[in-house]
């Protein structure tokens, strides 16, 4: 069995037809992880015992046909920013390298209730701060397509692992492209849902206003399967939407004829690699062929998205990371300190990486007396303009098509010395989060043998439309069926 190709749908059929047990399937994944992961380094923690225990229980459930769902017995992986009870959770940071949470994140609880098998926690840029997975405190993750390339970030481990066949699906998190970028670089489907659609309880917050928990899968159908189960109101999350969750899978196979696809003209003015542009153009042609109306629209405040995004990120992250003080968890309890403040300072200085410290300082600055108005408040005000752009655009179209990144995956080490360069490459992905709108990343081609991804962006709670369009696209193309040779 080619684990690189195996989808949730296929795995589910195999399980209920008793062609394989969840235990056997889990063993196969664990074996492949042992073989391949030392090369790509996608996992920080492999929860072998836990996985096998859950798999056994799932098998029992399947045998007795007890409330079996499409996710029962299916092995999956988590970006290491989700609180998992008694399983190490690091957020890619040294400051949490020994942290064992006492509770499960809501999304973990949900998947556990389905009997999904957690294989392990995956590498990420430290606390989500990065677009290449090079900011992890532990190691770099390699793109399985080309081992000298980055997999994207910050859900780099999840993308690399999934693409290399080390899990059937993954749960990532997108604050400013962190699901979409790695999905694009690794030839996967990744969804940033509407803000509030999926509970954030138990997700270690980076930017409370932007963070979105979402699925990473091999195709759109799988994505719909996962979203259907993890979306929904959570009383533990005060920002959780109260909408009724539609059956995304049932609505998937619907005609897309007549859907208006908007092309934001500003994005194409910003420039991208020839190969990327070609793939996007081809995608537009496909959408036209299947009956969608192509409309040019404008997002006039596109250039403001980057500074708005980063200023708010710095501010909120600086507060969200303040709790890492070495008192209740992390830090070195054996060491002697002169004072409490001394302990806090040393713990944070040693435990945080450079990029994290940089952003915390910028965040404190941006919120400080005398600068709050000029930076944070201003950013929040301009944010409403970005939201306005999307509102206006969706009066003229049903969804937008945009690139994810101006290039394909760059080489490891290429951009580490210039953080600003790194920020700039986020230009296409950072607008969705401040606006709270959903965006679906899809494979749309190859350039120099590296995957090219595109994103469909929709209005609030329009996941149905995005998934339908994505599904229709994947009926006409087979980019998503290609595998890396690893």
């Amino acid at each position: 069995m080619d684990l690189r190709k195996l989808t949730i749908q296929e795995a589910h059929k195999l399980l209920i037809n008793k062609k394989i047990s969840s235990y056997e399937l889990t063993l196969e994944y664990l074996a492949r992880i042992k073989e391949i992961d030392p090369i790509i380094n996608s996992y920080i923690t492999i929860s072998e015992e836990h996985a096998l225990t859950i798999a056994k229980k799932a098998d029992d459930r399947i045998a007795r046909n007890l409330n079996v769902t499409p996710l029962t017995g299916i092995p999956y992986s988590l970006k290491d920013c989700f609180s998992t009870k008694k399983i190490r959770t690091t957020c890619g940071s040294k400051i949490l390298e020994d942290y064992l949470p006492s509770y499960n994140a809501t999304v973990v609880k949900i998947l556990e209730s389905h009997g999904s098998v957690l294989l392990g926690k995956q590498n990420m840029d430290e606390f989500g701060m990065g677009s290449s997975c090079e900011n992890s405190a532990f190691f770099n993750t390699k793109n399985p397509w080309y081992l000298d390339r980055i997999p994207g970030g910050s859900s780099g481990g999840s993308a690399a692992g999934l693409s290399a066949g080390l899990s059937t699906f993954a749960i990532g998190e997108d604050t400013g492209g962190s699901i979409r970028m790695p999905a694009g670089f690794c030839n996967l489907v990744g969804l940033k849902p509407t803000y509030g659609l999926v509970s954030r309880y138990g997700h270690i917050a980076l930017v409370s206003s932007f963070d979105c928990v979402g699925p990473m899968t091999k195709d759109v159908f799988d994505c719909a399967i996962v979203l259907e189960q993890i979306a929904g109101n959570d009383p533990l999350d005060g920002t959780s939407l109260k909408n009724e969750i539609p059956s995304y899978t049932k609505k998937l196979v619907s005609p897309v004829k007549g859907m208006r696809l908007g092309i934001p003209k500003e994005y194409y003015q910003l420039g991208m690699d020839i190969g990327v542009e070609k793939s996007i153009q081809e995608a537009i042609d496909v959408f036209r062929e299947i009956g969608m109306e192509i409309v040019e629209i404008s997002l006039p405040n596109t250039e403001a998205a980057l500074p708005v995004y980063y200023l708010i990120l710095f501010a909120e992250a600086s507060a969200n990371l303040a709790r890492f003080d070495g008192i209740r968890f992390s830090g070195n309890p054996e060491k002697d300190f002169d004072s409490v403040m001394d302990m806090i300072i040393q713990t944070r200085n040693e435990g945080f990486g450079e990029e994290v410290k940089r952003r915390i300082m910028l965040g404190a600055y941006v919120l400080s007396a005398g600068y709050y108005d000029a930076y944070y408040l201003k950013a929040q005000k301009v944010r409403t303009l970005i939201q306005g752009d999307f509102n206006n655009a969706f009066k003229e179209c049903d969804l937008l098509l945009a690139p994810i990144n101006p290039s394909t995956a760059f080489k490891i080490g290429e951009k580490v010395d210039d953080p600003l360069q790194m920020y700039l490459s986020d230009i296409f992905v950072v607008a969705a989060n401040p606006a709270g709108v959903p965006a679906l990343a899809l494979p749309c081609g190859f350039y120099n043998d590296l995957p090219v991804g595109m994103q469909l962006i929709g209005n609030h709670s329009s996941e149905e439309i995005l998934l339908r369009a994505g599904y229709a696209y994947q009926q006409e193309t087979d980019w998503h069926k290609r595998q890396p040779s690893i």
């Binding site: 949490l96 509770y103 917050a205 409370s208 005060g238 008192i327």
Partner: protein, 491 residues
């Protein structure tokens, strides 16, 4: 020599109060944990990921706490903000698990209110302005040992209402009167027990002084750790005198946070928290803004019970009490409630009920460390006892005796009376015999009385009372004793 009197004439104290009141909700401000931390048997048992600040945990607003905040705001004559926004107040300290406190900054629940206070001596009414009242979460509790500190998170996340006044108070008396009034109002609203000893209600005083007649403000200090009205009075007085000495020496008062040292009775600069901190407030993204609409306001307004001021007027009108008497009663909601029920159940005159309640009853309640709310000596039984007394069936002494017994048992006063045969002995023969017996046994003292030592009469009265276990009717005894003594004289 410059005496404190001279200084006090030259300088005027300028005092503002900051009040932190823990709200009487069942659960904490932002999570479902039990909020009654002071009754927890062990540290760190009423905790969850949210109030311990674990990574990934999120706050959810306690609606009841918000409603209580609105209620207090209304009772303090404030504007209630239609849009309530919570903000993060950022600073590092071991008792603050998230590294920020969720509070309210520029959209507090209530603002621009006032409260009138009357100093009993002056009989002047002063209007004290209330700047704002806002909701926030309490921090964990630290206990300091020599080489380490212990953190108890039972208190972390408990709802607090912070009330800040303008510096409109200029005497210690008015400050105490104001503090007392706030405390009473909070108890009337049932949002806070008023317990200062255990820190359920906390007062901090901002104190400065200025030349009388001047409107220029001087540097103020902040005094914490005032856990009784006595401490408040002493601490503020000490601080005023300290500042007066500094200013009269042409020095400047340093802006600092001070603690009140109960034992040495001085204010002491506190280390620890940073001064003039930039808290970098910004809106809490995990809690969407809350809108308080007219319907909600109306519903909350209707929940407000009769407040002390109106009750004082009503007591004065309905019960014929003086304003002072009414105020003393009304200041303690439970006592006032008790009084009203007693009046309803009893046929005794109001002044009797009042004096027994304020006097004997209050002493016993305090002695027994119970309260007018908790005691099982119901106002109904108390009423019946008073009626026995006013009807003349029992005397003062007996009434007090039965009152004490009523705390021990659930029986009615009439039943106790019957059981213990405590009717007043007015039987003349019985009493005459007893008196004769007493005079015989104390004949030399009887002669001393007849010789002019008049005070011995009371002594004989006391002895009769003692011998009859207080059951004798004093007026009858007096007559009989008088005639017995004059008979004795004739012998």
């Amino acid at each position: 020599m410059i005496t404190s009197e001279i200084l006090r004439n030259e300088y005027e104290p300028v005092i503002g109060l900051e009040i932190h009141a823990e709200l009487n909700t069942r659960s904490k401000m932002f999570c479902g944990c039990d909020a009654s931390h002071y009754s927890a048997l062990e540290p760190n048992i009423n905790i969850c990921p949210t109030c311990v600040g674990l990574p990934g945990a999120m706050p959810v607003l306690n609606q009841k706490a918000l409603e209580m905040g609105v209620m207090v705001g209304i009772a303090l004559n404030c504007n209630i903000n239609e849009m309530n926004v919570f903000s993060r107040k950022n600073y590092f300290y071991p008792d603050l698990p998230k590294g920020y406190q969720i509070s309210q900054y520029d959209h507090p629940v209530a603002s621009n209110g006032w409260l009138d206070v009357m100093e009993n001596k002056q009989e002047i009414i002063q209007r004290i302005r209330i700047r704002r009242a806002h909701l926030e979460e309490d921090t964990a509790k630290l206990s300091h040992e020599r080489k380490y500190a212990l953190i108890d998170f039972n208190r972390s996340g408990v709802p607090l209402l912070e009330i800040v006044t303008e510096p409109d108070l200029h005497t210690i008396e008015s400050t105490l009167a104001f503090a007392n009034k706030i405390r009473t109002i909070l108890r009337y609203l049932d949002v806070n027990s008023g317990n200062m000893e255990e820190g359920i209600l906390r007062f901090e005083a901002n104190v400065s002084i200025r030349r009388r007649g001047s409107s220029k403000m001087n540097t103020r200090t902040e005094i914490k750790n005032l856990n009784s009205f006595r401490s408040m009075s002493k601490a503020i007085n000490y601080e005023i005198e300290r500042q007066e000495k500094i200013l009269s020496n042409n020095s400047a008062v340093a802006q600092e946070t001070l603690g009140w040292d109960e034992i040495r009775e001085v204010t002491v600069p506190q280390r620890g928290k940073e001064e003039s901190h930039d808290y970098r407030y910004y809106p809490e993204p995990d809690i969407p803004p809350v809108f308080i609409d007219k319907d909600m306001l109306k519903k909350i307004r209707n929940q407000i019970p009769e407040m002390p001021d109106s009750r004082e007027i009503r007591f004065s009108q309905d019960y014929g009490l003086s304003r002072t008497e009414a105020r003393i009663l009304v200041n303690e909601k439970d006592k006032a409630d008790y009084f009203e029920i007693t009046v309803k159940e009893s046929s005794s005159p109001i002044n009797i009920i009042y004096s027994w309640l304020i006097g004997e009853m209050t002493s016993i309640v305090n002695e027994r460390k119970t309260s007018f709310k908790e005691t099982h000596l119901t106002p109904e039984r108390f009423a019946r006892l008073l009626d026995l007394y006013t009807s003349g069936r029992i005397n003062d002494f007996t009434a007090k005796e039965i009152l004490n017994m009523l705390f021990e048992t659930d029986k009615n006063p009439e039943d106790i009376l019957v059981e213990m045969d405590l009717g007043k002995i007015s039987n003349v023969n019985v009493l005459s015999e007893l008196i004769d017996d007493i005079l015989e046994k104390n004949s030399d003292l009887a002669r001393e009385y007849l010789g002019g030592k008049n005070q011995l009469f009371q002594w004989f009265m006391g002895l009769v009372s003692k011998e009859t276990k207080g059951r004798s009717d004093p007026s009858v005894v007096k007559k009989l004793l008088n005639s017995a003594l004059s008979d004795f004289d004739k012998e």
